[in-house]
Amino acid sequence: MDESLKHRTVMRVRLICFWGAIVLLIGVIVMLFVPPRPTLAQKEVTSPIYRYRERVATGYYEGYEVSPRRKRAVLEVPTAQRGLFPFGSASAMVQIRTRLPDSHRGLKFYFRNTCIECHPKQARNIHSERAGITCRQCHGPEPIPAINHYYSPMNPIRRHAYVCAKCHEGATAAFADFHVHEPSGTELSTRESFPALFYASWGMLLLFLGTLAFFVPHSFMVGVRELTETKGFKNVTHQWVLPLIERCRGKVRRFLEKKKLPEHEDEDAS
């Protein structure tokens, strides 16, 4: 009696251990394959590794804090690094305007100009055209820091939080990658600066032109041809045009006959 009870208990414990192990194994495998929940921008993270990083945080959102990582479509090549001796004394004299604390430093008669006089293309953007936003509302007051200057609010490292989020609540770094001053899609220079936009624009343009270039002349030709066919002829000419002509002709004939009548009388009289 005792023996069998002991045996059953042992078997039960073994079974529980067996199935428990299998469930754990499956759980571990599932955990391996389930990706971590994407960390949304401007969201405090709680895991210890992130809390450790927070202690040495630099004050701006880092790549690991926003999802997805910023993928820049516009490629920038700093001009000063070209040439045989890119780090020579001569290149050190070159001011890279996208990195200056005051991007308009040293420009003559700067305070007599408006932004659009030197940046006419930048004025054509959806923010200023639709929402009436001025340049300074995003780019800030004088001195306007360059886009890539380390402390610039426009620096892609903090642009989403310092500029975009003023209106677009919850803007992420990926959101800030939207190109406000985008190049013209069909210009050849866009192929290097923003290739996706270039190929999309040309694809849609060719589709548009191709569809209309075929169907407009084709439909028109069919219309012209149908006019000469019996059915088209009957439908339009017999129902609409000929009766009109007939009516007009009758009026003209009657009008002419009225005029001619006295002449006939004269001839008869003579």
């Binding site: 999802s67 910023r70 479509a73 985008e182 084709h218």
Partner: protein, 276 residues
């Protein structure tokens, strides 16, 4: 004169689908173009009709949702129309809107016919331009729906895509809309209203029937097929009532005038279009 024999061409569901698409398309074109041209007098006056710049986008969004739902319902309807016992025949057969090799032949023959070098092609139930009309809308609607949702919810979109995808989405949304509007208001209106055999209006999409002699001239293969299957007697339809004709003539011409208003102003102000 025309005979009084009428042949059934569209059933009630198909006609209601076309009516639904017509109304939603015109609202989308009106609200969308009022925003596209908002920097011009045309866009501003058009947007006033839809309650201004901000209300227009709400109407545009909800009608877009309605349109997408209609697209889903229509897809289910099309799937239910496939004969699943013999799917190949029913998908690639003459009653289907899927293009096949015959359409290319008909197209070439019809081009030669327009210059008088060949007899009319013997078209079946759906001609190649009707298939193009249908499929152009069918691929355009998901494209517009997806890019439209991306632009409506930019923050959600940028959780999975980089921000410059929004530039591309805006470009696709506008370019496809302009293509659709140009095609419908130029080519589709010409085929349905101005073509001599249809002047002043092709009534098949509203009354559901076409004249037998018209079908014999334009779609002889279809009539022959119906005769061979012995379905011609069944496909005969009654002429539409006078009051019904009056209603759809007024409705069709209202749509035509609205479309031409958008088209002419759109061409006149085309230099103000910003594609992205």
């Amino acid at each position: 004169m025309r005979t009084r024999m009428l042949l059934k061409r569209f059933n009630l569901t198909q006609r209601l689908t076309h009516l639904f698409l017509m109304i939603t398309f015109l609202i989308q074109a009106g609200t969308g173009f009022s925003r596209l041209f908002i920097t011009t007098d045309f866009g501003r006056s058009l947007s006033l009709f839809f309650g201004g710049y901000k209300t227009a986008i709400d109407i545009h969004f909800w009608v877009g949702i309605l349109m997408t739902a209609g697209f889903g319902v229509h897809t289910i309807y099309m799937l239910s129309k496939i004969d699943w016992k013999n799917p190949v025949q029913s998908i690639f057969g003459p009653d289907s809107l899927v293009p096949n090799l015959n359409d290319a032949k008909h197209l070439l023959q019809r081009i030669r016919w327009t210059i008088g070098k060949s007899p009319r092609p013997k078209l079946d139930r759906w001609a190649y331009w009707e298939k193009f009309d249908y499929l152009a809308v069918y691929w355009g609607m998901p494209l517009l729906a997806i890019t439209g949702l991306m632009l409506k919810f930019p923050l959600l979109t940028t959780f999975v895509l980089p921000g410059w995808a929004l530039n591309i989405a805006a470009l696709f949304h506008r370019a496809e809309a302009i293509l659709a509007v140009s095609y419908i208001f130029i080519v589709h209106f010409f085929i349905g209203h101005l073509r001599p055999s249809c002047f002043p209006m092709h009534e098949a999409m509203f009354s559901g029937s076409i004249h037998l002699d018209e079908a014999l001239e334009e779609k002889p293969a279809w009539v022959e097929r119906l005769k061979k299957e012995g379905k011609l007697e069944l496909a005969m339809a009654k002429p539409p009532a006078r009051w019904f004709r009056a209603i759809y003539f007024v409705f069709g011409y209202t749509a035509l005038v609205f479309g031409l208003y958008i088209l002419i102003n759109g061409i006149y102000y085309s230099r103000y279009i910003r594609l992205h």
